[in-house]
Amino acid sequence: MNGSELDKGKEAFKEEANELLTELETSLLELEERPADEDIIGRVFRAMHTIKGSGAMFGFNEVAAFTHDVETVFDEVRNGKISVTRELVDLTLAARDHIRALIESSETGEAVDEARANEITASLRKLLPDIGSHEDTTSGNTDTIERAVEERSQNSGNITYRVRFKPHADIFGNGTNPILLLNEIRTLGECEIIAHFSDLPLLNDIESDSCYTWWDIILTTGHGKEAINDVFIFVDDVCDIDIKSIDIGAVLEGEADYKKLGEILIERGDVTKEDLRKLLGEQKRLGELIVDAGLAKPDEVQAALAEQKHVRQVREKRQKTESASSIRVPSEKLDTLVNLVGELVTVQARLSQTAIQKDDPEIILISEEVERLTGELRDDTMSIRMLPIGSTFSKFKRLVRDLSNDLGREVVMLTDGAETELDKTVIEKLNDPLVHIIRNSIDHGIESPEDREKLGKPRHGTVHLSALHSGANVLIRIADDGKGLIADKIRDKAVHNGLISSDADLTDKEVFSLIFAPGFSTAEKVTSVSGRGVGMDVVKKNIDALRGTVDIDSTPGQGTTITLKLPLTLAIIDGLLVKTGDENFVLPLASVEECIELTKEDVVRSHGRRIINVRDEIIPYIKLRDIFMIYSDTIDIEQIVITEQEGCRVGFVVDYVVGEHQTVIKSLGSVYKNVDGLSGATILGDGTVALILDIQKLVHFVEKEEAEV
């Protein structure tokens, strides 16, 4: 391995280790809930074992040495010598953090907390039942690591062995049952066993206490030759054992083919090359020829054929699995791909438009084909960027655990819909808001265990984190069963902080949403985790930036539910293209409910107040013409696009509704970045620019203006 390959290996190890550490954390937390689950213990052990093994291989000796100590303890746990306690989980979590620090320090060169490491190791060793063996563990450290590496390299590829097992006639004499040995071999891997009866004497000569049968075993296993030797460990002096590797898993030859029958027989020494060559002039199948000529016994040929078949199968299978494996790609490459697809969608729109204008059936045909392909390409590209939200969820398990420890609460976190997929960027940006919400739930929502008991609730509170698809959106719900929000208290505080006037008439839901206003905090005292009044408005801001919405619902005494509604992706949305004057606008289709006409009579009927009666519901509307100061001639029948946002319906008056539009979102330049009411722009098929409206901000903007008047 040269320098750069080693570096690549190191990178791969770091990535792998990070995944393993995450897995380790999840498993540990699960283990705390179900301390006796051997499956989880096995997982914890495996994770550490792999970190140790590969760590040593890539020169992370400190990691390997440190992990070894932790692994030793879990080996004992696995053997049932140590039981899982909270202390052990705490220590192992700390050890996990230290392992991460060690791996990171190799990158940054920062010193790690040696004292802490020694502390962890010392505490772990105290848990070991047999104190006498400590010296041994330390001195045998490198040895064990080397063995681990060796085991790993053996496990990395399955090797196929040919085992010839010829028991001596007296093998039964010491109580051995050869069949059991064959059964044991079968447990090592995929295997083919061929029995040879050629040594069987005539009935008269048979001694019932003697063994006349012998076997050829073709075994594909990842356990290595030692494991096969171990099977025959008790019988090595009462039988002949010959183990040869005939197919090494690591090197993949181009074809799934294996040696020809003749080659196998020659290699085994069952037939000589010369005999074979003489035969090859004739046209029968080789196996038959050999038997006919009496060169080998039928069962020998049978065994060789079985070997051939077995190895071919193994190779075929390996080819299949190799081709089905996945590859890692840096996420920037995906970002570039998404951008390119965005451009392509824009160009395709232009092509469609031109084709229709030219009215050339041939070009229209091509443009339709391109449209279909572009659509597929877009969906596929988007789906590549989708990640299950579960990885974020598991991070929060740790957060909940640590927080509830700090705050003296008992909190259980439940998660649902971890497999729900969201755009990678959305998931990344979702982290902070979720942290704030969960912190608030635990700090403000969940009562102390004693209080909960008094209230007749279970001692431990529950935070339920769930995710589900809903149309083009994903809903993320954070529900707690704590004390809930008290509307009056929030209202008083809001009045006190000058957020609302004392005579404001607000529904409970509107009051609840005040907790997302900047500078609002109801906690009686500021704790280390929440109560500074910055958390919740940051949540709102972050979710807004993701084009999402926040909804809050609460029942006093029963808990609070916060629902985040997020778009599936950030790059391309379905929009409704509308026109006012010469300007094009796009409204996000997700929030559009319906389009109706607005005639001059309608306007007269409402005496110029900007409201319209839609099926007995009074809906206010906003004229885009007025907001964007478009002074072209008005038309007689205008259109109202009715949208729904945060539970209230607002109409937007436009001249024409053009139709649905695949909108590739382009951000506005730095000059227009801070214009309220616009979330971006898109390029239409004819090259003109359409502004994408931010409905919610637009409504707030108008509300504010009217309030000032």
Partner: protein
């Protein structure tokens, strides 16, 4: 009914450990304190396997194995001997006497069960 295994050892603690482990895995266990005791108990209920120590008073492990192998009904019964690493020659002696296999002391319950499974199925 589970298979019956006889454990022969003069040390009560070893017998206890073997017995406990095997019973936990669903085997019936007959305990014997030395070779002589073992032989007399073999006459009783049938035994499918024997685990014996080598150093014992009255009749030692090697002697026991030889005796057992002369008994027609126990000719093919698996016999496992408990040895220590320093007793390599003893191991050889035991094998030629007809022992099926061995376990090196000290051993873990898992190892014991693995060997039992290996020779008894």
């Amino acid at each position: 009914m589970g298979k019956t295994i006889m454990t022969v050892d003069d040390s009560a603690s070893v017998r206890q450990m073997v017995s406990f482990t095997l019973k936990g895995a669903g085997y019936e266990v007959v305990e014997a304190v030395d070779g002589k005791d073992a032989l007399s108990k073999l006459g009783g209920s049938p035994v499918q396997m024997i685990i014996t120590d080598l150093n014992m008073p009255n009749l030692d492990g090697i002697g026991l194995i030889k005796e057992v192998r002369t008994n027609a009904s126990y000719k093919f019964v698996p016999i496992i001997m408990l040895t220590t690493e320093s007793q390599d020659s003893k191991k050889q002696e035991g094998k030629s006497a007809g022992a099926t296999g061995w376990i090196v002391k000290p051993f873990k319950p898992d190892q014991l069960l693995a060997v039992v499974k290996k020779v008894l199925g």
